[in-house]
């Protein structure tokens, strides 16, 4: 099984080949990163828009590969492009007066309706029924930066350091914002605090 270093080296070679216009090499890079890029875009946009934005990200990446100097990981570089692309879309909509949706696709009641019955015991499920609907609402009401970081961490499955690099902030800032978000959501759940 290839190590992380092997993958990184092979990725460097793919980048070099793609930079010289090798479509096959770029296709391999896309395949490796498209899920992550889409997941990031999805945290900002609705599914269809996230798909379009993901395509934009890779076209931008292809045309801008020369500016990728390898100091950050390719995935971080792509994530940064993805976030900027999504923010551009949202800014454009604000200018056009289009109200941005919550982009989470539903409220807590819908969420609960889809939780399989066998996942939790009935007591927990009863507690969750109420709590989860409050959680979804509370998450939407988080300050923008907290919500962004919370979503990138838990829904886009990014590491703290990756988030910091992608957003251009110190990792301590990411932790602080994330923990504030967690605190608010825990408060919403009650009990332990």
């Amino acid at each position: 099984m290839p190590t992380r270093e092997d993958l990184s080296q092979s990725e460097d070679r793919l980048v070099l080949r793609a930079r010289n216009g090798d479509r096959e090499a770029f296709g391999e890079l896309v395949r490796r990163h498209q899920r992550r890029v889409w997941l990031v875009c999805r945290q900002y946009l609705e599914p269809e828009d996230a798909d379009n934005a993901s395509q934009d990200v890779f076209v931008k990446a292809f045309t801008g590969l020369a500016s990728f100097d390898g100091r950050a990981a390719l995935t971080t570089w792509l994530t940064r492009i993805a976030i900027n692309t999504c923010l551009d879309v949202l800014r454009g909509r604000r200018r056009e007066g289009v109200v941005a949706s919550s982009s989470d696709g539903g409220d807590g009641e819908d969420v609960l309706g889809r939780i399989p019955d066998d996942r939790v015991c009935p007591e927990t499920r009863a507690m969750q029924r109420d709590a989860v609907s409050r959680l979804a609402e509370c998450e939407r009401a988080l300050p923008e930066r907290q919500r962004e970081i919370f979503r990138l961490r838990f829904f886009a499955e990014m590491e703290l350091e990756q988030i910091a690099e992608a957003l251009g902030v110190h990792v301590g800032t990411v932790k602080t914002q994330l923990h504030r978000a967690v605190r608010r959501l825990r408060d919403e759940l009650g009990d332990a605090r």
């Binding site: 793609a18 930079r19 010289n20 216009g21 479509r23 770029f26 296709g27 896309v30 395949r31 498209q34 899920r35 889409w38 997941l39 999805r42 599914p47 996230a50 798909d51 379009n52 993901s54 395509q55 934009d56 890779f58 076209v59 931008k60 292809f62 045309t63 801008g64 590969l65 020369a66 500016s67 989470d104 696709g105 539903g106 807590g108 969420v111 889809r114 939780i115 996942r119 939790v120 927990t124 507690m127 969750q128 989860v132 959680l135 961490r153 838990f154 829904f155 499955e157 932790k175 994330l178 923990h179 504030r180 967690v182 605190r183 959501l185 825990r186 759940l189 009990d191 332990a192 605090r193």
Partner: protein
Amino acid sequence: MKDHLEDVEFAAALVGEKLAGKVAEHLEACVSCRRQLAGMRCWIEERRDRTERDAPDWQDQWERIAARLDGVAASRPHRRWLRPAVAAAAVVAVAVGVGIMQLPEGEDVRSELAVEEILAETDALLADDTIPGFEVIDPGLEGLQDDSDNGVS
């Protein structure tokens, strides 16, 4: 027993990180913390599952990306040295020109090109982004913007 989980510990538990002994012990014993964690995990996992269900077909997405790449070229590393080099050459050319014009009369060397002409040519050269090495950084981006404006994806 340890107090309830700190937010940093709670966040670590949410992503399944290995917890320190006392934290794990507390979680084992505290119904309240466990319920909070279960509720939050459940919500997060469900959101992730739902997000995955919305995901596009990856091969199809790549084919759409590939179709858009037909009109653009990958950018090559820029010859960053070229612009300063041309500018330096221009300065040298001007200096030589000025030096020649200032030679004492009677010398058999005369400038055939006015300083202003040399400077104008240099300016024109520097302003022309189409000469080799002077490409715009991301030639595809301008087209991309146009595409998105036109609703092309």
